[in-house]
Symmetry: C2
Subunit: 212 residues, 2 copies
Amino acid sequence: MLATVPVRVPRAIREQQMLDAAVSVFARSGYVTASMEDVAAQAGITKPMVYAYLGTKEELFSACLRREGTRLMEALVEVVRPELAAEQQLWQGLRAFYGFVAAHRDGWDVLYRQGRALAPFAAQIDGMRARMVEVVGGMLGRAVQARGRVPDADDVEAMAYAFVGAAESVADWLIDHQEIAADRAASRMMSAVWLGAESLLRGEIWRPSGVD
Amino acid sequence: MLATVPVRVPRAIREQQMLDAAVSVFARSGYVTASMEDVAAQAGITKPMVYAYLGTKEELFSACLRREGTRLMEALVEVVRPELAAEQQLWQGLRAFYGFVAAHRDGWDVLYRQGRALAPFAAQIDGMRARMVEVVGGMLGRAVQARGRVPDADDVEAMAYAFVGAAESVADWLIDHQEIAADRAASRMMSAVWLGAESLLRGEIWRPSGVD
């Protein structure tokens, strides 16, 4: 068996290869039916080696989630630069988000679709979502301040929740429509929420007067 | 034991009482740790009777989901009347939605928060979400047609996904902020998405020109 293992591969690279294999196997077979044998076979190594590097199947799935989440965050941070106007920050952030989803369909499938329906990982995903809400809320709050207004914390937070929920939901839509390009998904998300966000920046909140 | 069972309660009413008890127990203890004994005790009946009426714990949870989902749909259908303008349909629908969530926090907790993180029920919840997307998309599509335009199916569908995802996410926010009234959540959702929806009705889709 040892002959099949190229021993001089550094640990960090080996781990990334195992995670690549695991994401692909989890996406293909589903968490419950995926086996550590499948992951080992896909990575071209032995099963004990997978256990030694990344632990149990649960720990392996959790490590996949962490890596995919980190990759997504890095893709966002790279383009949502603080010197950009709010509209450009949102647009570039959404392009990067849907670009990531479209380019790592397996990863997104593992990250969200399966993970959120598996009790041991739901909390991990809720944590990622909470960080995303914080990031979007922080960005909106600073944009309100940049226009010389004091942001209403509840208005900003509710908008951030709406934004993140809408973005996730449109990502589900994108996954099911392989013919849709990432940028089309991003511009449709902007259509859905940009005018609302802009109106928050102007201090104009929708009120029911006249239609109640 | 039989002495504790009022035998003349009609089956339909008895079932509703069991579902009330089950929603309350699932919300308090969580699906995994909740026991059929707890549900029976809460309903004031024997455990075999719960099994006889509503089957296993999995079937019982599934019946809770169905009932809470049906209640929510009924609350929406009652107020989203087709003769109303789109803005009023959305506003009334959101008020009814958040009114339901605020009035049945246990039910919403069971319906969405727990159910979506439990593999056997995730498909059932995805089905409910898909119906909701269809309903919202149908409403938006008809509103576009009412203004003499041919709706772009992808634009309408993406907007419906964004809308439903945002509405769910704001419901999570509402559950965690017991001091926020249902109507405040509804008007914040309108702030986030109404201007975008209105611009879809006018045939104006956000495009990246100038900010790309």
